[in-house]
Each structure stands twice: as structure tokens, then as C-alpha cells.
Point group: D2
Chain length 230, copies 4
Amino acid sequence: MPVWDDVIPANERPVFDSAGMGVTRVGFGRKPALVIVDMSYAFVDSAFPLGDSRVGWPAVAAIQRLQAAAREAGMPIFYSTAVWKASRIETGLWKRTPEVHRALQDPKAYEIVAELAPRTGEPVVLKNVPSAFFGTDLLRMLVMHGVDTVILTGMSTSGCVYATGVDAFSNGFRTVIPEEAVADRSGIAHKVSLFNFHMKYGDVVPLDEVLAYVRRAMSHDNSTVSPVGR
Amino acid sequence: MPVWDDVIPANERPVFDSAGMGVTRVGFGRKPALVIVDMSYAFVDSAFPLGDSRVGWPAVAAIQRLQAAAREAGMPIFYSTAVWKASRIETGLWKRTPEVHRALQDPKAYEIVAELAPRTGEPVVLKNVPSAFFGTDLLRMLVMHGVDTVILTGMSTSGCVYATGVDAFSNGFRTVIPEEAVADRSGIAHKVSLFNFHMKYGDVVPLDEVLAYVRRAMSHDNSTVSPVGR
Amino acid sequence: MPVWDDVIPANERPVFDSAGMGVTRVGFGRKPALVIVDMSYAFVDSAFPLGDSRVGWPAVAAIQRLQAAAREAGMPIFYSTAVWKASRIETGLWKRTPEVHRALQDPKAYEIVAELAPRTGEPVVLKNVPSAFFGTDLLRMLVMHGVDTVILTGMSTSGCVYATGVDAFSNGFRTVIPEEAVADRSGIAHKVSLFNFHMKYGDVVPLDEVLAYVRRAMSHDNSTVSPVGR
Amino acid sequence: MPVWDDVIPANERPVFDSAGMGVTRVGFGRKPALVIVDMSYAFVDSAFPLGDSRVGWPAVAAIQRLQAAAREAGMPIFYSTAVWKASRIETGLWKRTPEVHRALQDPKAYEIVAELAPRTGEPVVLKNVPSAFFGTDLLRMLVMHGVDTVILTGMSTSGCVYATGVDAFSNGFRTVIPEEAVADRSGIAHKVSLFNFHMKYGDVVPLDEVLAYVRRAMSHDNSTVSPVGR
């Protein structure tokens, strides 16, 4: 039973059903990458004003399982996080109070949580906007790896994950969200975002199903990209 | 009282309140443009499988008022719609049944409703993905007009409007959604999308407030862009 | 002997040689696509003010050979051209005289030459700026095909071809220009653009070498993208 | 007399003249920004394999004059540079020898030269590809400032400056290159790139003319963007 079942009213379902929305699946492709969006203390941990430990730490645990499986399969892994900037020109037009802006100045805020720390060779893209594709090299790196499937995880579901998912779809990638590997400070925003995404753009599936896929998809073809200058 | 008040549970509000989310406003800028997303029969009218007349036609009426005010003020107006394509390569990875794909083949599907028909000099961008910025010239045209504020309208709220709004925000525009001028086949998706947008990226405000702003913002400065080759 | 040999002065070569620029090759990848930029009458034929038959028609002949080989190999083929627009907002800031603007209004101007006419299933992207990637769906379609190598042809070498090549490189594609399959109204601009490109971004190679590669690269894997809604 | 006069052959001029190319000017707009591309030791100084002191340091001197005038006028200033990355996935498909790749590892390589050091509040965008717009926040920041005119400077003319200029044009900005404020290790590539740019996309003008414009264009309107959270 999908996570959104208790929030989408029965009288709203017929229009989706009659259009066949959410019935089909995009499906898994042949060359996946794992994308981990904004799993920094600022969002994972309630010590920060935008963070929510109740949902953040369980998502960390789920992503750890995927990260381990992806590493074992030799699958490319990418992370996004932000960098604190003093000026609004560099930060963008986020609706943030001065208190939140100050709290994010803590160097720990945008640090990816230790449990998911990137290893050498696992790129981290820095962004100031919701989507991990916007103003970053993520797309170029996915192209260089020949990726056709983005396994999308992180926080928050309705914010940076959703925006990244729409861009992954718009750029032509099959996009799969393992339900337990995304989290949001709002339960209703979490559920409705996953519903929207699954109806139109990609597949929201249980973590176990994605883990099984990752284990099958052992990478055969990293030969495409050779070391610099060879 | 905001439209989302009856769907965001009371116990989910403190985390937003304590972070000051949704408290501030981005505010109106000095040079607005009106962007009308996908107000074609395919989405407005229940004659098409993705359409919903109950919410679509009232949105048409609201946008008509804005369109008239924008024309009187000399404000730039932009429209988006799609073009039917036979192949999945050109269509993208939308989760659509063959029935929906066939219904969209009707030439009327992606025609903008007559009530909102673009006039000469009001550009229409053609897109195959959710955001009206993605794979179009919309951004260049906004830059050429010196626009700083996007008044965002159309359908559906949780789909193409939301994706366009995130891109408007990410590209540095103040983004204002007049609540009555957007619509969605799902009430819950409509409300939660507006809640998300207002908390983080832009301002969701009553139509009347936007109309008053448009009337104030009579364009003084179209001189920036002269005719071709002069 | 490369085409630029007679225009790059001997005293300018040491700095390139000592940096090893132009020495290495990016090389062919495993999944190529053919991109044919702006081979419309406006650029190919001297009947139009921006056209140059002397170099345009020989390029058509070279591209015809590639197009035939690509079709036989089942390789994806993409075309770009423009659409005439009345207003400068839609046209962009091109430095064009009113006479040129008028000449381009002829419906034949932006029509792809009959000798290279696209077949059903070979997408044409419409653009108003130099690069065929900018404001189009080209990148998404290359991603959906799993392309890693762009074979870049068309006109003009120093204008739309070069801009498209820089974007292909920046998006992570191996980019190969078959020398005879690009053309420019200026011989010096043609040669120096190819020199620049070969020094830094991609490979400029003889047509015959690319033809041999295309014939080897028979497509095995179009299975990735199934028909809509199946 | 333009800098390219001695390299464009007389017999190539009629086609440009008859099309009126290079005759018109795009002209200066009302809200300029100064963009300084890649003026790091790696390109300015012959101590690095891709650098060329003969042309780099004179360009530094020219840009210093513009930078001082821009600061006095309160004009926004943006810089680009790169960050060394170990892996080819992060670096991109640059045609570089292992020797060049190693030389760029020196932390000084991508440091902007001391003579042009950015001040607090003057953003530096980090890029791995030719254009300063690609994979960066530059466009968003220009939009937030309401910029309509990009004064484009830096190195190298035929590489990162040219690619940035094409993107500035494609994004709808009037683009002005002060001739003395750009430089290239190849004289012929420098001249032909400026010729191409001036024929089609923007204006290549003497430094003194740009300095006079900057002095006239004292900023009146930074009020658009207020501090964060106010």
C-alpha cells in the first residue's frame, strides 16, 4: 500500500485512475547512479532550525544500506550539499528569517552527516538552489558515466529531492525514489510529493526492491571513462 | 486564511513556525511579467483525460482578469504549451497510458483555450517537460525585458506550474502565484503544492492583490529592446 | 596535414606543443549520434544573404554520406534549424540588418535542404541561438539514447557548429567533427575554429575515418527506449 | 582599425559586408556588470604550461582599470575560476596531457592573480567547462541584479571568454568585449575569435570607450536586492 494512501481522498482518485496515471512504471534501466541530496546536519538533525531528527536519521539508515550496496556494485554515487554565503545575491531568494540564515552559518550545517560521508572518487556538487542539477556539473557527470537511471534519495522530499527528481525526469533519466530513503519535516508534504512524482514522472518503490536491483546491476562498463590524460 | 489551512495538520506547523518558514514575503519587484502555463484544452477541459473542467474553467476566468490588466499595463505576457510528438524520444519519459497518448494527438489538445488566446507579440514557448523554462527561450526573453518578478499562473498547480515556479526561483526571479489563477485536478495536491511553494520559494497571494500590483506597475521602460535591426 | 596548417603561424605553435594541446585524442565512444546543425537554405545557399553555396553544397554532399551510413547503422540522427520570428524579443540580440531579417522571412530560408531532409523518427530541434543544445530538447534525447559520442556536422563552423560543439563537450560527450562535413563563409574563421576545437575540446578528423567508425558502430541497444505507453 | 584587420583576407570580406554583418552595434544597456573570466596564474603566467605572460599581464593591467572604475560606479563584478579535481569524471573531457594535469594541481594555478583579487561581496563562480555560465550560478546572480549588459574580460579569448560570450548572448545580454581586456596564447585565435564575435553576437570595442561607459553608468538601483532575511 503506497505511503500516500491515507492522504489522497477517495473522491480525487477517479480522475487519476481514468487517465491511467500512476498505473505504468518507468522501470529500472541498465546503468544506474545513486544521488544523495542534501543529507547534511542542517536537514537531518533537529539541532538546526530546518532539520528534523525524527525523519532524518531513519532516512540516513536507509541510505546507508543503498550506499553500501552501490559501492559494492561499483555504481557511481553523487552527493549534493550547499555552502553558506553571506550575501543574498549568492544565496538566492530563499524565504529565510535572519535566525535561520545565522544558524546555517555554522560550518557543521552543510556538512554531510558522518554516517554517509563521501569517499574519494564520489563527487559532491555544491548548490544554492533546490535542484542538484541546477548550477552544477551533475548532469555532465551522469552523461560521462552513461547513466540511464537515477536512484534518488535525501532530504527534503518536497523540496530539494522533488526539484532534483523533476530535473532528472526532464533530462531523460528513469528516476526511482526508494520510499524509505527520502524524508521531510512535513508528513503531508512528504506523502503528496511522492504521490505527485509517482503519478507523472518516475517510480516510488520500496527500498528493498531498489536494493535488489542495485545488487543485480553490478557495473560492467566503467571502461568508458579513462583516467585524465591517458 | 490560506487555501492549505485545512490540509496541513496542526502538529506539523510548529517546525515551520519555529524556522520562520512562510513568515516573510519575497515581495513584488519593479518589472513583472505574466507567465501562463499550459492553459490548453488538454488540461482545462474534462473532454480530455488529463483535463478537469471543474477547476480549469474558473482558473481561465481568473487568468483572463490578469491578462487584461497586464495588457493594459503593457506588461510582457508569455504562454507555454506542448506539441504532440509520436515517438517516446521526443515526448520524454512521461508515465502515460497509450489511451492518454492517443487522446493528446487531437490537434485541439495543446491549443491554448480561446478565452486566453495569445495576441501577436505575446510569445508562446513549446515544451515537452514540466517546466516552461526547460528547453525553451523563456529565460532569455525575461532577461531581455529586464524582468525581476514572475507572476505565475496556469495548470496544473502540482505539475507544470510548480516546476516552472521552482525554476523561476532558481533563476533569481521573485515569483508570485495568484491563488485563484492556478488549478489542479487534485485538491490535496493543489493545496500542498501552494503550501510548499509559499514556505520556501515565493509568495502565494490572493488574485486581487496581484491585480492591484499589476495596475500599479504600468510599464515605463520597454525602450530596452528595440525592433530587429534598428 | 590538418586544414589549419596554413593559417596558424609557426611562432604560435610552441606554446601549444609544449602544453601538449592537440596531441591527445578524445576518441570515439560506444554509442554515437549524428547531429546536423542548421543545414537550411539560409546558410547553404548563396541565394540567401548569410548563405554560401561554394562551401555549403560540398558540405551537404559530405553530410549525405554520413547520414546514409548512420541510417544504415541505426544510429540516432538529430537536426537543428530556426523558425522566423517577427519580434526582437523572440529572435534574440543577433547583429542583423533589416535586409537580412527580411530575407530570412522567406519560408524556404530555415527549411533543411532537400538533399538532407529528415525522415520520420529523426527529430528536428528548433532554436534561436547558436548552440543546438540551448533552449532545446537535444540533450534529453541524447541522454535517453545513452549517447556518449556526438558526430558534429553543419554550418557554420565558427558559429552554430562551434557553439554546439562547446556545449556537447561541456555536457560530457566525446565530440568528433568530420572536417569535410562542416563549412563556413569565411575560410579563416573555419580553419581557426577547427584548430581551437581540436586543441581543447574534441577531435577534428577526416570524413573517411568517421565513416569507418559509423559503419563499425552498428547499434545493438536501442532497446533502452520503448514506445510510448508500452 | 579593428584588431582582426590584418588576418581576415580581403576576398572574405564581401560576404560579411553584403550581409551587413558587423555593421550594426548591439550597444550598451542601462545596467552593466563586469565579468572577469579565469584570470588565474594558470592562464596569465608562463610559469604554467597553459599560461602566457606576454599577453596575460597586459590584460591584467587593462582589467584593473575596468575593475577600479566598476567598483567606483558600484557596478556588480563577477569572477570565474576552476578548482583542481583528481578524477576525469569531475574534470571533464579536456584534451590535456598528464603533465598539464599535474601542473594544474599546484594550488596557485587556479588562484586569481593578486592584482585582480576579488573583494568581499564580489562573487567568484567555480567551473570546470569553458563557459562561466555553465554549471554555475552566474546567470541567477545577473538576473537578481537586473543586469542587461555583460562587460566581458579575461582569458583566453578563443576559449573560456568566447564560450562565456556566446552564452551571455544566448541568455539575452548585450555583450561588450573591451579589446585590450582579453588575451590568448595564439594571436590568430585571438583575432579571429574577436572578429567572429563582433560579426554576430556582440560588440568588440576599445577599452577607453568601455571605461567611459562604466563611468557614466553609476549604479542607481541596487535597491532591488535587499540583505538576506530582511
